[in-house]
Structure formats: structure tokens, C-alpha cells
Amino acid sequence: MKPGVYSALALALALACHYRRSVVPEIFEKSLRAFLIGYPKRCPPVSHSSIARAEGESVGESLEKMASGFLTHQQKVLRLYKKALRHLESWCIFRDKYRFYACMLRARFDENKDEKDMVKATMMLKSGEEEFWANQHPQPYIFPDSPGGTSYERYECFKVPDWCLDYWHPTEKAMYPDYFAKREQWKKLRDQSWDREVKQLQVETPVDGLKTEALPPARKEGDLPPLWWQYVTRPRERPM
């Protein structure tokens, strides 16, 4: 898509969001926003040192490199190692036995870590993946709150978007007067800073498409980070 069309759509959406009465459910709004602007959700501002890294990955692995769409050999090996360890944990239930076999696995990986021939290394990785596939656990241990776990998305039905608060009856709002007074101030702040946020996003979007989903931090003095409202008013993890 041409950058002009992109920004025009973004502007249209920004205007729609500004004047919206928000009958669009939040999930749809999120995906719509993601589709049009490309900023699905607010990630907290990250620095290089705290970027999520696979175990043992070097600091030199920057956000831009990861977002190219291709994994490096190092990333593939490390992902295989982590997968293998997790499935080993599913097979070997008792911790001492697990530790023994985990050390054996680590030794097998460490044996070949100084291989310089990339062809050979890739063939070893391939055979490793095949071995993993053959020996994987059919019901690996998944943490309850992880995708696929037993209590994943369990409280999703209680997560209400913040615009519902605007629909409360005045008698209900009167039960929490200071909260709603403050909410009005925050909403004014949101309206004021919205244009600047959209402008910053438009400026910072690269011309040939986005490289990453992470939102940038605020750059200018007195500015708020882009799309901060969505982050601030997100529902709790375990809604009461």
C-alpha cells in the first residue's frame, strides 16, 4: 500500500476514533486498528537490555533484526533447546531425574556449539528437530495461564472495556463521584493528546511498512506515549 493511502486511512481512523461513540467492541477495535495503522496493542516502553530474549541470546540481537521475519541460526537452536527442555520436564516428572537428563541434553548441545560450517550446523539442527518431533510428549506441561492451559482466557468474559463506564446511569455514577470526576479529566487529556499521538505514529511509521508491533515511547517533552489510553484503561488480568 502506498504511504499516502496508509496515512489517509490512519487519519480517517483517528477522526473516527475521536468522534466515536464506540459501539465497536474492543476486540474488533483492536484488530481494526492493527489492520489499518499497524499498532495492535500498547507494549510498555522497552530498552535494549530488557528486550525479551531467548535463553542466552546476545544483547546484539536488536528489535529490528528480530522483526525481519527470519530467524537466525542461533535463535533456532535456542528455541529447540528450550522446547526440548520443556518436553523433557513433561516426561521426567521428578526433579532430580529431570536435572540429570537436562544436563545430558545440555552436554549434547554444548558438544557441537563451536561448529563453524553452517551447512553441517543446519543439518544437525534439522536432525535435532526430527529427534524432538519423534520424542515429544503428547500432552506437554502447559502453565495454567498460558495459551492452551486450563485457566487461559477463563476470565475473559468478565473483562469489560472502559467505554462501558460512560453508559452508567447518573445514580450509579454518583456512587463513585471522585472516580468519575477524575475520569472526566483523563478523558480531556486524552482528547488533547490524541492528535499529537497520531502525528507521532505517522511520522515514525517507516515508508515501506512496519517492522515491529511494539509502540514507540514519547519523544517530545510534555507528550504522552502513543495509544496510552488503551494501555491505561486495559482490564485487569484477574477481573474481580
Binding site: C92, F94, N135, H137, Y141, P144, T150, R154, E156, F158
Partner: protein, 613 residues
């Protein structure tokens, strides 16, 4: 009027009123009190239980059974549908059992669902389910039974999908409904057959008019209904998936009450099946397959609720086997005793899960016998009752079933499968106890473990008393209709105990091997077969929709075009005309002189013929 009769009928109707009163109260538009669930619903069920003990006592003392027809509902000249309740031995004993178990589960649920904002709605659903179940159990005609049947199916859907934000829960709820629907086809088929051939839906009339005709079709329909509702092999995957619901739901619906509805139907209508050997053999073989298959699947599961779910499925298979042996009373006894210990197993699992912050995997439990002593004790008691430990409640029913199995004239294959499944029961029960309560902890150090809350402890204790005493109590007061065989060789008499002991020894050996962990993975094909539930869901849940969808696609796109344009239409005409054309083609080969000659000859002949005639 005779006062025991009055006491009987009025008590039973009072039970219905007691249970429906909280529902009517909740129809009030003003919002409910936060404690409504505990004060209204649990108290109602508790009172209804105490009320139901009176008819139980009268029945045990005098053997009285009652049929009350209350209201002529839809009656035409030839067909009657009434609201009528049959309080015979089955419903009189089952109602107090169900109410006792529900009372305990509701008390437990007030702790388990404490942080849920919709707890009142949850209790309302459970109460509605209980009413539907009691309607099913006390129904004297097929229509009322069907109302109860569908009621429990719908409530099962609503309760499994309680956390509807979760995609897996919605899938599981749909799965339950669809599999039950397949079974309902059988039930509706039987009902239609009974309406057409026996001109009635009243149970007494059906029994009276079934003396001479032994049609197999309605019985197959009833067996299909039981297969769907009671998760027999072929329509079983919904039961382990139903563990997506909260633990009180699993304890009430999917262990004690709803899943036995199919078996209960067969028990109720048993006089129809008594002399039909095809139906009995089907029940026997289906039950034997179910019990072994699901017990084998339970051996390698890692989710504690799924293990108990498969255990339920296995016991349901055993009940089906008993029906196939022409022993409905033993099946019913097993339903009652099973309700106690299975509900207790679920409540103990729920207590463990909640204490470990929603951790359901047994690989991350351990050493709970020191931290949750009462829960692990009751888990052990429940497992012992399940495996048929002598003189606990499961023993009276299970041992009697195995004895009847051993001394009947039936195929040895069903017998072998059932015995192997009995030994598997011991294996997976021991596995649960080993991983959950023995050894040292494998969960996080800061888990909020405690058993200080009486709302948790009292239900579990009550059900423990039930698991220990119920078998003895019911057997000593229950008059068997068929004489049990008392004399048999020692090996046959002890066979249940022997196979269970064998299973337990195997389990002990295997756990000591697990402790040593001589290799990382076990024999992968066997383990994966059991773990992936025999690949049954993986295959059927893809194959069946694919076949239906491709059939639909073929019909929508190819069939119409192919039929009307090709076979029947223009191309069809073409294909039928071409042979004729080819045959006459050889004549039309351009012999002009011959054609002219023939033409002139034909013209002359026709003119001559016309002038002459």
C-alpha cells in the same frame, strides 16, 4: 386415606416445591442478596434431602411404591399424556442420594466459586439441573422423561461453558450437546415407535403390551440414547472434554447424576429388554469395550480431572455391562454407591486445584498428604471405594457385578475385558494418589494451601461417610428381585479382589520404575495411543465434519449442475443419441446416385399406394 400413602405422596411433592421455590424467588426483578446462593439454594436442597428420607424409610420398612398421576395434560381419545410420577424403588433411593450429593457439592461450590461475580446464577443453574434430573428419575411416562432428559442436556451445556470467554470451554459445551443430540435421535426413535405400536408413553402400559412383541428397533434406539448420554464408546469424547467446566459442575453432572441418566433409562425400561437377547448382548459388548477403552486412556492422562472423568466413563461401561447381564438392580446399586465416591474424588481434586492456584496437572503436585491431610485421606478413601476395597461402598456393588459376570453364561471376551478394566482401575487410582499426595512437593512454595475452611471440609467428610456406609446401608435394606448366585468356585469369588490386587502390585512396580527413571521416554506408541485417547477424537472430529462438508459442497455445486445439465439435460440427450447416430452414419456416406434412385423409387411407390388405396 391410608396415612403412609399420604405421607409418601405429599413428601415427594413437597420436595419439588422446596426445590422450585428458590427459582421462583430469583425471578423477582430486584437484585439478589450476595448470600442468596448459600442461604436459599443450599438450604433448600438440604431440607429437600431431609424430607426425602421419610419416603425412603417408609419404603425400606414397608416396601411401598407409589405412582401418582397429577394432571391430565394432553389427552386425546386415543393417546394420553399426563403429569405422573413413579416413586418406585429406583427413584425413592436415587432421590435422597442425589440430594445428599448435591447438598455437599453446593456447600463446596460456595467456597470454590466464591470469587465469581455470578455465583448466584451458578447456583441457580445447578438447582435447575437438579430439578430436571429429579423429573427424569421420577417420570412415569416417556414425555416427562424426555423433558428431564433435555433439561439436563441444556444445563450441562450452560454449565460446561460457564467461563464462556474461553474458547476451549465453548468447544467442549458444543461437543457435549452434539454428542447428546446423536443419542437423542435414538430416544426420539424409540418414543415414536412406542407411540405408534403400543399407543402409549406410559411405562406401565408399555410393559404390559410388550409381553408378546419383542421388537429390537426401539431397544436399539434406547441403547443409542444411553450411549450418547452415558458416554459409551463411540459417543464418549464429550465426557473428558466436559472437564472444562468448574469442578462443582464436573462433580455433580459428569460423575454422579447426569451421566447416569442413560443407564437409568435402560434400568427403568428393563422389562422391555429382559428377553431380547440382541439388546442384552449389545449392552454387554458395548459396556465391556467402553470400560476397557476408557480405563486404558486414563492410565497416561496428566490432568487430575481428566483421570477422574475417564474413571467415571469406565464405571459407566461397567454399569452397561451389568444391564447386559440382566441385572438392573445391581446396576442401580452401582449408580448410587458410585455417586458418593466419585463426587468425593472430584471435590478432593477441586480442593487440591484451588489450593494450588488452578494447577490441574499431577506432574506439578506432590507431597500433599502433609499439607492437605484430610483431602488426601478422602482421596484415598474414594479411590479404595472405587477399586472395590472390601466393605467400603463400592465393594457391595462392584463385587456383586463381577460375581454375576463370572457366573453368567456369556462370551468370555466381555468377561476378560471387564476384568482387565478392573485391574486398570486400581492402576490409575494409585497413580493419582502417588502423584498427588505422596512424595515431595513439585509445586510453587508460596501456594495458599489450607484446609481451615469448614465449607470445604464438611462436604468432603459427609461424602466420605457416604462412601464408607452407603453400600452397606442400601444393600441391607434393598430386596433383590433376582436371586444372586451364592455358590461358585473360590477363584471366581475372589476374582475381583485378585485382579485389583494384581493391578495395584503392577502400579507399585511401575511407580518404583518411574522413581528410578532409567530412560527418558516410555514405549512411545503405546503411551501415545493411551494419551491421545486412542486417536478417536483426533480422527473422528476431523473426519466426520470433513465428510459432511465435502458432501454438502458436492451437493451444492456438482450435483445440481451434473444432474440437470449433464445426466438429464442436454448432455444426457447427446449421450443417448450418439449411438443411434453412429449406427445410421454408415448409410449417409455420400452415395448420391443411390440416394436419388431410392428417392425416386420411394416416391413412385408411395404415389402408387396412395392412388390405389
Amino acid at each position: 386415606m391410608h396415612s403412609p400413602t399420604l405421607i409418601f405422596s405429599s413428601t415427594l411433592l413437597i420436595i419439588f416445591i422446596l426445590l422450585t421455590y428458590p427459582l421462583i424467588v430469583s425471578l423477582n426483578p430486584s437484585p439478589l442478596n450476595k448470600k442468596w446462593a448459600t442461604t436459599h439454594v443450599k438450604t433448600a436442597v438440604q431440607t429437600a434431602f431431609y424430607a426425602s428420607l421419610l419416603p425412603l424409610a417408609v419404603f425400606f420398612d414397608q416396601g411401598m411404591e407409589v405412582i401418582t398421576t397429577n394432571w391430565h395434560w394432553m389427552n386425546i381419545a386415543t393417546f394420553d399424556i399426563n403429569i405422573s410420577f413413579k416413586f418406585d424403588q429406583y427413584s425413592i433411593i436415587f432421590t435422597p442420594v442425589a440430594l445428599y450429593v448435591t447438598w455437599s457439592i453446593l456447600e463446596f461450590a460456595s467456597w470454590y466459586m466464591h470469587s465469581d461475580p455470578n455465583m448466584n446464577r451458578f447456583f441457580k443453574y445447578l438447582l435447575l439441573f437438579l430439578i430436571a434430573m429429579i423429573t427424569l428419575v421420577t417420570a412415569n411416562n416417556m414425555f416427562q422423561l424426555f423433558i428431564g432428559w433435555e433439561g439436563v442436556g441444556i444445563m450441562s451445556f450452560l454449565l460446561i461453558g460457564w467461563w464462556y470467554g474461553r474458547a476451549d470451554a465453548n468447544t467442549a459445551a458444543l461437543q457435549a450437546v452434539i454428542y447428546n443430540r446423536v443419542g437423542d435421535i435414538g430416544l426420539i426413535l424409540s418414543m415414536a415407535w412406542f407411540a405408534m405400536n403400543m399407543n402409549t408413553w406410559e411405562i406401565q402400559q408399555m410393559f404390559a403390551s410388550s409381553q408378546d412383541n419383542q421388537a429390537t428397533l426401539p431397544l436399539m434406539g434406547l441403547i443409542l440414547a444411553a450411549t450418547g448420554k452415558s458416554a459409551q464408546f463411540g459417543l464418549h469424547p464429550w465426557l473428558p472434554s466436559a472437564m472444562e467446566g468448574p469442578t462443582p459442575v464436573s462433580a455433580l453432572l459428569h460423575s454422579s447424576t447426569m451421566v447416569v441418566a442413560g443407564i437409568f433409562l435402560l434400568i427403568r425400561l428393563h422389562p422391555l429388554m429382559e428377553h431380547n437377547q440382541v439388546a442384552l448382548t449389545t449392552c454387554l459388548c458395548l459396556g465391556a469395550t467402553t470400560t476397557l477403552f476408557t480405563a486404558a486412556c486414563a492410565l497416561t492422562q496428566n490432568d487430575i480431572k481428566k483421570i477422574v472423568a475417564f474413571s467415571t466413563s469406565s464405571q459407566l461401561g461397567l454399569m452397561m455391562v451389568t444391564i447386559g447381564l440382566n441385572q438392573p438392580q445391581l446396576a442401580f446399586l452401582h449408580i448410587c454407591t458410585h455417586a458418593f465416591f466419585k463426587a468425593m474424588l472430584f471435590l478432593c481434586s477441586g480442593s487440591i486445584i484451588h489450593s494450588l492456584n488452578d494447577e490441574q496437572d499431577i506432574r506439578k503436585m506432590g507431597g500433599l498428604h502433609t499439607m492437605l491431610p484430610l483431602t488426601s485421606t478422602c482421596l484415598t478413601i474414594g479411590s479404595l471405594a472405587l477399586t472395590g476395597m472390601p466393605f467400603l461402598s463400592g465393594f457391595f456393588s462392584k463385587d456383586a457385578i463381577i460375581e454375576a459376570l463370572n457366573t453368567s453364561h456369556l462370551n468370555a471376551w466381555a468377561l476378560t475385558l471387564t476384568l482387565i478394566a478392573t485391574s486398570f482401575t486400581a492402576v490409575y487410582s494409585f497413580r493419582v494418589i502417588f502423584f498427588a499426595s505422596m512424595g515431595s512437593p513439585r509445586f510453587l512454595p508460596l501456594s495458599p494451601l489450607n484446609e481451615n475452611n469448614p465449607t470445604v471440609i464438611n462436604p468432603i467428610k459427609r461424602l466420605a461417610w457416604g462412601s464408607i456406609l452407603a453400600g452397606l446401608f442400601i444393600t441391607s435394606n434393598f430386596l433383590p428381585a433376582k436371586t444372586p448366585i451364592m455358590t461358585m468356585p473360590m477363584t471366581l469369588k475372589l476374582s475381583a479382589l485378585l485382579v485389583t490386587a494384581l493391578g495395584l502390585l503392577m502400579a507399585l512396580e511401575l511407580t518404583s520404575l518411574t522413581n528410578k527413571q532409567l530412560k527418558i521416554t516410555p514405549t512411545i506408541p503405546l503411551h501415545n495411543f493411551s494419551n491421545m485417547l486412542g486417536y478417536f477424537p483426533s480422527i473422528i472430529h476431523r473426519l466426520a465434519p470433513k465428510i459432511k462438508l465435502s458432501l454438502g459442497q458436492a451437493m451444492a455445486t456438482h450435483l445440481i449442475d451434473q444432474t440437470w445439465l449433464e445426466k438429464v439435460g442436454p448432455k444426457g440427450i447427446t449421450t443417448s443419441q450418439i449411438p443411434l447416430i453412429k449406427a445410421t452414419n454408415s448409410i449417409q456416406q455420400g452415395l448420391i446416385k443411390t440416394y436419388l434412385t431410392i428417392f425416386f423409387l420411394t416416391t413412385t411407390l408411395s404415389i402408387l399406394l396412395i392412388t390405389l388405396i
